[in-house]
Amino acid sequence: MEPNSHTKLFLEVSALLTGFSKTELKATGMLETYYNTIQKNTDKQDIDYFFLDVHVLLNDKSQKDIEAALASQFMAASAYNGLAANIIILWYTGNWGSEVISSASYIQGLMWNAAHTHPPGAKQPGYGSWAERPLTVKNS
């Protein structure tokens, strides 16, 4: 399979694993960095099988509940050496294991958005904003 389609699959499966839309994931600007991160830190065989199976799963028209299938096939620590769980942690925290990938990955961690807050020390919301409900809550 072409690496090119791997990045596409990576985006698709990341959206399923994180619950954030593909556009929201792209909007972090971290897609390429994270794809390279898993390439660098995961056994090639695990990656190849992972994307192969993801590809099959996403194209399986008979599959009614993709999330359930993901949960049963991909989430076990033994499956693909825990890659699926690592991808979730990667997107939410910007970390690979306990290593911060970059200052940008720290800022772009989805956990801040999920909690309607901001990464301490970055993306400051302005003086006195703490007295208000977060804009993301107000607007949703």
């Binding site: 839309s21 593909k22 556009t23 929201e24 792209k26 909007a27 972090t28 600007g29 940008a104 993306k123 400051q124 919301p125 302005g126 003086y127 006195g128 904003s129 208000e132 804009l135 607007n139």
Partner: protein
């Protein structure tokens, strides 16, 4: 950093600011004794060349007489001030697009310069609101009325400059319109054109050729109507004024407007920050607050040339040929998000997730304007709260800029009105 960048200690820096020029304002309009004294004082301290120039008068695109008589009545004056609000606002999105499309870590000086201009444009909106509030009879304000209508004030890009301002463009070019562009030479040309001072050699026509000329008309109108109206026109509720205590941080001075002189000072701040001087280099007076920065036009020139003005750069005879000779800095036209020009929500209709993101941005934009509108409509203490939204605006814009299209361009903030 700011200190180094903007040469706060450079004694010549205020030379780049236009003191509310043209102090012959009342030669044909009204002779007010105090104003005459003011002129006399000023001419004493000014170099002979300047005196000669102001005596002769600077020929503007719209004739001086037309500028003086442009404002018809109080209603027209108030309408023009609302147009001025729209004018100030129309410049903010293009500057923000220029700023946001600069990639983190690159073009540091250029980003700081553009950012300082944006902050001042917001200040101008507040100053114009103060003038408008100062001449609005409190009895005419119904409860719940807002100073302006957010939906009407948001321009559709590309847009001509509001207020019938038609800056000169090179021969053969289409009439000037403001576009939303990524940080680029084209964008900097556009910014410079917006802020360019009136060209004295320009032929007389029926429209304004610069933002400064439009404000001249407003200033004459304020003076004339204030003199001809029994009791004057400055009868607004002072409690509706935004003052320094409601506005923190950089961006110049907030002028509380309760008299004509205050209004003149506010307009001086607006025009001075925008265009700078035209030939008025002789005065060392600091007229409008201590921390005066280079006028916008010259900040944009600095970016165009990749060089700061130095202490010895003065000149600025019109037409402006000033070339900065100070410290060079790096301008990288490639470390930039390749934003599609004039993005629209309509462009994103085939991508619902992206459309949602664009709407999120616009919601924050409209909230920012609503906050400013509330503040200038009798609740000045809300201004700071409104300004905090500014931060969120940037983060939402950056999210859009991270979303690529197949043709190598990327999405961008659309600055359109949405219901919130």
């Amino acid at each position: 950093m700011e200190n180094k960048l903007f040469q706060k200690n450079n004694p010549n820096r205020q030379k780049l600011i236009k003191p509310i020029a043209d102090l012959d304002i009342n030669e044909e309009v009204y002779s007010v004794s105090t104003d005459n004294t003011f002129i006399a004082d000023n001419e004493l301290s000014a170099a002979p060349a300047i005196t000669a120039k102001s005596a002769k008068g600077i020929s503007l695109k719209m004739s001086k007489r037309d500028v003086k008589n442009y404002i018809k009545d109080l209603k027209h004056l108030q309408d023009c001030l609302r147009t001025a609000l729209k004018l100030e606002l129309s410049t903010i999105p293009p500057y923000l697009c220029g700023l946001y499309t600069i990639k983190e870590g690159s073009n540091v000086e250029a980003a700081a310069l553009i950012r300082s201009v944006v902050v001042e444009e917001m200040l101008h909106m507040v100053l114009v609101s103060n003038i408008l509030n100062a001449i609005t009879d409190p009895k005419t304000i119904k409860k719940g009325d807002k100073l302006f209508n957010v939906k009407d004030i948001i321009p559709v890009y590309p847009t001509p400059l509001p207020g019938g301002i038609v800056p000169e463009v090179p021969k053969g070019s289409p009439p000037f319109e403001v576009h939303l562009l990524k940080f680029s030479r084209e964008a900097l040309d556009e910014f410079s054109t917006i802020e360019r001072p009136s060209d004295p050699k320009a032929p007389i026509t029926g429209h304004f050729d610069s933002i400064g000329q439009f404000y001249e008309a407003i200033r004459y109108g304020l003076l004339r109507l204030n003199e001809s109206t029994p009791g004057g026109i400055f009868i607004g509720d002072p409690k509706r004024q935004i003052t320094a205590e409601h506005y923190y941080g950089s961006g110049g001075k907030i002028t509380k407007v309760v008299t004509y002189e205050d209004a003149e000072e506010a307009i001086g701040e607006i025009v001075g920050q925008g265009e700078g001087i035209d030939g008025t280099i002789a005065t060392e007076q600091v007229l409008f607050g201590e921390d005066i920065e280079y006028a916008h036009y010259f900040k944009f020139q600095e970016i165009c040339y990749g060089r700061m003005y130095s202490a010895n750069d003065t000149n600025f005879q019109m037409p402006v040929k000033s070339i900065p000779t100070g410290k060079p800095f790096t301008v990288s036209w490639s470390s930039v998000y390749n934003m599609k020009a004039n993005p629209k929500m309509k462009d994103y209709e085939n991508n619902p997730e992206l459309l949602e993101k664009a709407k999120d941005f616009n919601k924050v934009y409209v909230q920012l304007l609503n906050g400013i509108n509330d503040a200038v409509s009798g609740e000045p203490e809300l201004l700071i709260k409104g300004i905090t939204v500014m931060y969120e605006l940037k983060y939402k814009a950056l999210e859009l800029l991270n979303i690529p299209f197949d043709n190598g361009e990327c999405a961008g903030p659309t600055f359109e009105y949405v219901e919130v």
